[in-house]
Amino acid sequence: MNATASLSEILAQVQDVEVRFGGSAVLERVSLTVRRGEIVTLIGPNGSGKSTLVRTLLGLIRPDRGRVFIHPGIRIGYMPQRLQVDPVLPLSVRRFLTLGVRATLPQVLTALEEVGAAHVVDRPIQDVSGGELQRVLLARALLREPDLLVLDEPVQGVDVNGQHELYELISRIRTQRGCGILMVSHDLHLVMAATDHVVCLNRHVCCAGRPETVSRDPAYLALFGPTVARGLAFYQHRHDHLHGPDGILRPAAARPHQRGHSHDG
């Protein structure tokens, strides 16, 4: 543990958490801490339990074992992975933003300007693009003036330039507001500059630490494969499989294999 970080207040913590869906473990003995002023990033392949861990921390899933602690009285801003509003519900972006908290139009506009999406304020929420929707969701979380921001894949559907921009923005939010941030990401290299602490998850915590350390960790390399780990351009294809215990590739959409990865680290 980092000595300076442990001085700051713990906002949220899960300890030795185990979550099972229909008999098979999705999370096994996972621990995670988010402190004020700190950005913690969860990385891992598809189906590794990232969203499950986030939703457990938020109290949306009750763990089968282990403890979840949320600092009493803190405000949480949450950005879910998916939002689909049925077209039959007439809802403008402005109205959507005030569903979570009562806010005036200037406050709404300030939040949208902060995320670079002020131009969509009067548009129906169903008409904004994927990238714009991510920004709108972030604005809704910010409007709550959160102590803890929880972002589940904040850059999905955003083009590469936009991804860098968003990560910079998230980093700036932490500096300006001093909140703690927990976010889920698909790959380490894009978030590296914007995060303090990385937790590499594959149903259990494979490795954790500062981003430079994790990127060289044998467990991280084993999980993502050396090509991916070096961050080459075609890495995204590699996320579509898992390694079976026998070394055979399996599609990530299939049920998680029965035994965990064996890592050297």
Partner: protein, 265 residues
């Protein structure tokens, strides 16, 4: 104008004014078949009332409330989609009702009366019930409006933001069950479910906010009642079905209107 016609008009408009806003939520939440499910359980309520020696309406209300509770409990399991659950509940409730009534040989039920109700037989007492109960229902709906809307848009986001999701949803379901059960005798199964769904669907075209849609649905429903009763009086057609046809005609008419240029920037 004859008194019975005036009462039918007032009663029908009263039901439509309540059904519009409630029906909007039914449409937004994709619960169109909830009404039919409750309606199908009415027979069981009749049988229950007869066996227990209590008022038929109390029997129907009790069964509808019970069904709403069962549905909420089953939905929380998240094993089956809501439409599947509604299908199961709907047909088993109907069959249970038919079997129960077959056992009670002294009980003769006029099924057509339940299907179409008799809006022309509305009494002054019924009117008090419609307007008193309707006002109470609208007040309760206004009270849970904001949290219910937030839950409808994204349940988990609402939960994280502190909305008592389950309680709000339960209040809403019981409210719908109560309204349908109470309106069943007065206007019949067919009319109450159509007044929930069709005006709300028609109102979508005009609405730019949830509240506009709810208000427009109430007005369109009232217009359908007036038009249907006029047609029924003019051409001596059955009143309930005429109102449903008037609502459908309004829906078709509105759908055929040329679209205004949608402003997109």
């Amino acid at each position: 104008m004859d008194d019975f016609l005036l009462r039918a008009l007032l009663g029908g408009i009263g039901v439509a004014l309540v059904a519009g806003p409630l029906g909007s939520f039914v449409v937004w939440r994709r619960m169109a078949y909830f009404g039919d499910t409750l309606a199908h359980s009415a027979l069981l309520g009749v049988a229950l009332g007869f066996v227990l020696g209590i008022d038929t309406n109390v029997g129907i209300i009790a069964v509808c409330l019970l069904l709403a509770l069962i549905l909420v409990a089953m939905q929380r399991q998240k094993r089956l989609a809501t439409d599947t659950l509604l299908g199961i509940l709907s047909h088993s409730a109907l069959s249970l009702g038919l079997v129960a009534i077959a056992f009670l040989q002294t009980l003769r039920v006029d099924l057509l009366a339940y299907l179409f109700g008799d809006i022309l037989a509305i009494t002054t007492t019924d009117l008090y019930w419609i307007y008193g109960g309707g006002l109470a229902a609208l007040l309760i709906l206004a009270w849970i409006w904001r949290p219910l809307l937030a839950t409808t848009v994204h349940e988990e986001l609402a939960r994280v933001e502190g909305v008592p999701v389950t309680a709000v949803y339960l209040v809403f379901m019981l409210l719908i069950a109560l309204i349908i059960a109470a309106a069943l005798k007065i206007v019949g199964i067919l009319l109450i479910t159509s007044l929930l769904i069709i005006p709300a669907a028609a109102a979508r075209r005009f609405a730019r906010s949830p509240e506009q849609m709810a208000a427009a649905a109430a007005l369109i429903g009232a217009a359908a009642v007036i038009g249907g009763l006029y047609g029924s009086f003019q051409w001596d057609t059955p009143a309930g079905p005429s109102i449903v046809i008037a609502a459908t005609a309004l829906f078709a008419l509105i759908s055929a209107l040329p679209r205004r240029n949608q402003r997109r920037h």
